[in-house]
Subunit: 450 residues, 2 copies
């Protein structure tokens, strides 16, 4: 039988039900909601968010902005909230992308409009994630290297799948929604490091909400827009090696369980996370370690990761996100790397700046075939008396899918993020509700109107 | 000196002035406005337009929808109007794309908001066209073949350039606008033949308006997003052979004059236009020719063009747009191919349907290196007495840049299009105003409120 990717994917995602999803998948999806909404609240006052909100100047609607009293129509709310979610680059990663930054804002905006339940939202999230995983894994070429920001290009299709499920579109309309999502797929790697990067997540969330709405209203699109030789996968293909013939297994395999979500414990580039874990281990094992007395810090990591960390002498919080020197100085000095430390004043402290020169890199040339990175990172601290303290090798960052954070750690991150937008009691109540998302009839009252 | 495509293109387009543009370029741009606004009026009641307008349900603003009394904010007005402009596939072509369907709606919407003059609008159009031509000509690979709809992917950047010029952004902000346009570039060939195709033009117009607005408000983007190895041109490259190093010549050469616009004389696929011209020539030379008595019609054309014309037995006006059989039957019977003939009832007339079987194709294997098509098309009509009437070889469709329509023919097309939306006097007055666009202080009153 001829493969019919678009139609099969539409049939599979529109047919998902909450009851069929394994409990482990639901728990992961719930973490996606908690984490995304937390970092959305932390990011809501970033300049990229206010510039977008001011420029769109959205008309009033029934979907909340940043979980607060201001409301817009769902497409614009999804857009603005998604930019807030990705603004700090503190949101989860999976599939070489940032799935929750697109899916969660799209789903919560439409759910509020549709008065959908927590179970509907979780099912929509899984539909979006599984569609994303199916498409992403059909090519082994590197999307980033070709110039594509996977969050932008896959996000619009995955968000369309999620919103189509939320609207309970049938398989035919869902296929149109996927194809309309594919017609809006956009986002280029070259714009990393600028406000355009979070814009990609926002535009994808907007496109997804809109694709499902247009399909529901009768807009037509090709039923083979994903797999067609002049379709989405061929157009964006980095290596010209797309496997469009592999059967769709959404609803049979659960890739959300196989792959999981990597939750960021630190608001810095993911390439800094393993070294930060290593330094925090040393700091904990040697509480009397005096940063001022440290003679040198040696970080063993993959050259590929080091390339991303381009700022050896950061002077702002934004630059410090992409600096292994800052990450080491911060972890060693503060014993933590949180939002409070990603602050211009903290970055400019003389004791922090003074440590940058003492950080040296050694490159581990081995490549883990699964990730392309060194199998582990490691940190050594050289003391003035010539002794060296050496961390364990860190293969998985704390919070990675294979080394999940505890519920308490997830809550701690959420509360520190939400504190930037909500009083503590409101943040705690929101966390509690999100932790029981599957039992909520309606997500958005009263937390939306604190 | 290192090439800096994004910055150089931004400097060149932001520096264009009306006074420096050659008169021939202004005349071509004016044709773009007249033709696009005419077909926009003809297309405004198409289902793709009403579905989009109903789904967006745009808030009231200061930019006119379809030249009528309804108004929306400029980004949404540009979006909806652009879909109307491309809905009938009757709009102009150049650069393997539909430039005016994106540029004109974006410019008129922002111009109305900004209260810009006709000269500002013409200058913005030329800025957009020249940016488009510069980028399009840096790769010889075929974008359509890779899966990209050039109207969608180049349109958003060109519209950003046009709107940046209209807003008089400086070179720096214009560079950000171009990069933000590149981050929103989207549209795939596989969705041709569905409502998603005009959506590409609409989304590009919307993206362009928004990119310039976001850049004006301070949103940042990379200053090398077009030429970066992981930038726009590399990401969409069909053959991996982008020439990013060639200097920008915008403002020195005038590609709008070199390339021109192809104005469609018939509301059918452009591949039918040369055969229609040939058949109309025969019809004019032999006014007593009785279609019912014709034994056969032989069309000599390129196989590549014939492939696009997939509907041998159309039964609707939409299908008939992509049918050489209909094109021949219609031209022979009605002596014209206009909007009135692209109507289900006309298509289904027994005399029209009866001719389809008598049309035969012969393929001319020669390829004009410039176009990839046969050097010319030709039509022969076989009479019952065995005689054959043979048309001239037609190398250029009437209305092509190299065979421009007369002012009177342009006006005739405009009036027949506008008749679908406006009373005749209002249409005539609008045509008159557009024909003197360079002298208008404000385009949009009173024609917008007829």
């Amino acid at each position: 039988m001829k493969a019919a990717l678009t139609r099969d994917l539409a049939a599979a995602t529109s047919g998902l039900t909450y009851e069929r999803i394994p409990r482990a998948g639901i728990e992961i999806a719930k973490r996606g909601f908690i984490d995304a909404i937390g970092v959305m609240l932390a990011g809501k006052d970033e300049p990229c968010v206010s510039i977008l909100a001011q420029t769109l100047s959205p008309a009033a609607g029934d979907a909340s902005l940043f979980w607060g009293p201001d409301k817009a129509r769902a497409p614009e709310a999804a857009w603005i909230n998604a930019v807030a979610t990705h603004a700090l680059d503190f949101d989860d990663t999976a599939l070489s992308a940032h799935p929750s930054a697109v899916l969660v804002p799209a789903i919560v905006a439409e759910a509020e409009h549709l008065r959908a339940s927590g179970r509907d939202m979780l099912c929509a999230y899984v539909a979006g994630f599984e569609a994303w995983a199916d498409l992403m894994q059909r090519e082994t070429g590197q999307y980033h290297t070709k110039g594509w920001h996977p969050t932008g290009i896959f996000g619009s299709i995955a968000a369309a799948a999620a919103c189509a499920r939320l609207r309970r579109l049938d398989a035919g309309a869902t296929a149109a929604a996927l194809s309309l999502g594919a017609s809006q797929s956009a986002g280029i790697t070259a714009n990393f490091g600028s406000m355009a990067k979070p814009l990609h997540a926002g535009r994808a969330a907007h496109a997804g909400v809109l694709a499902a709405r247009l399909a529901a209203a009768g807009m037509t699109a090709s039923t083979d827009a994903l797999e067609h030789p002049q379709g989405f996968l061929a157009a964006v293909s980095p290596a010209g090696a797309v496997n469009v013939g592999e059967p769709v297994t959404v609803g049979q395999r659960w890739r959300i369980v196989e792959i999981g979500l990597n939750i960021k414990k630190y608001p810095t580039c993911y390439c800094t996370h393993r070294p930060i874990d290593a330094m925090l281990e040393l700091k904990q094992a040697h509480p009397s370690l005096d940063p001022a007395q440290v003679a040198g810090i040696v970080v063993s990591m993959s050259r590929r990761n080091a390339k991303v960390l381009r700022n050896a002498h950061p002077t702002t919080g934004l630059e410090a996100k992409f600096s292994i020197e800052f990450a080491m100085a911060c972890a060693l000095t503060a014993g933590r790397v949180g939002l409070d430390e990603l602050d211009d004043r903290f970055v400019r402290r003389p004791d922090i700046q003074g440590l940058f020169e003492r950080v040296r890199l050694v490159f581990d040339p081995r490549e883990d075939p699964a990730t392309g990175y060194a199998p582990h990172d490691q940190v050594s601290v050289e003391l003035p008396d010539g002794r060296t303290l050496r961390s364990s090798p860190v293969a998985l960052a704390r919070g990675a899918a294979g080394a999940p954070l505890s519920h308490e750690e997830i809550r701690t991150k959420f509360m520190s993020c939400a504190a930037r937008a909500l009083p503590e009691a409101a943040a705690a109540s929101l966390h509690e509700r999100l932790s029981n998302l599957e039992d909520l009839r309606l997500l958005c009252s009263p937390p939306c109107s604190p």
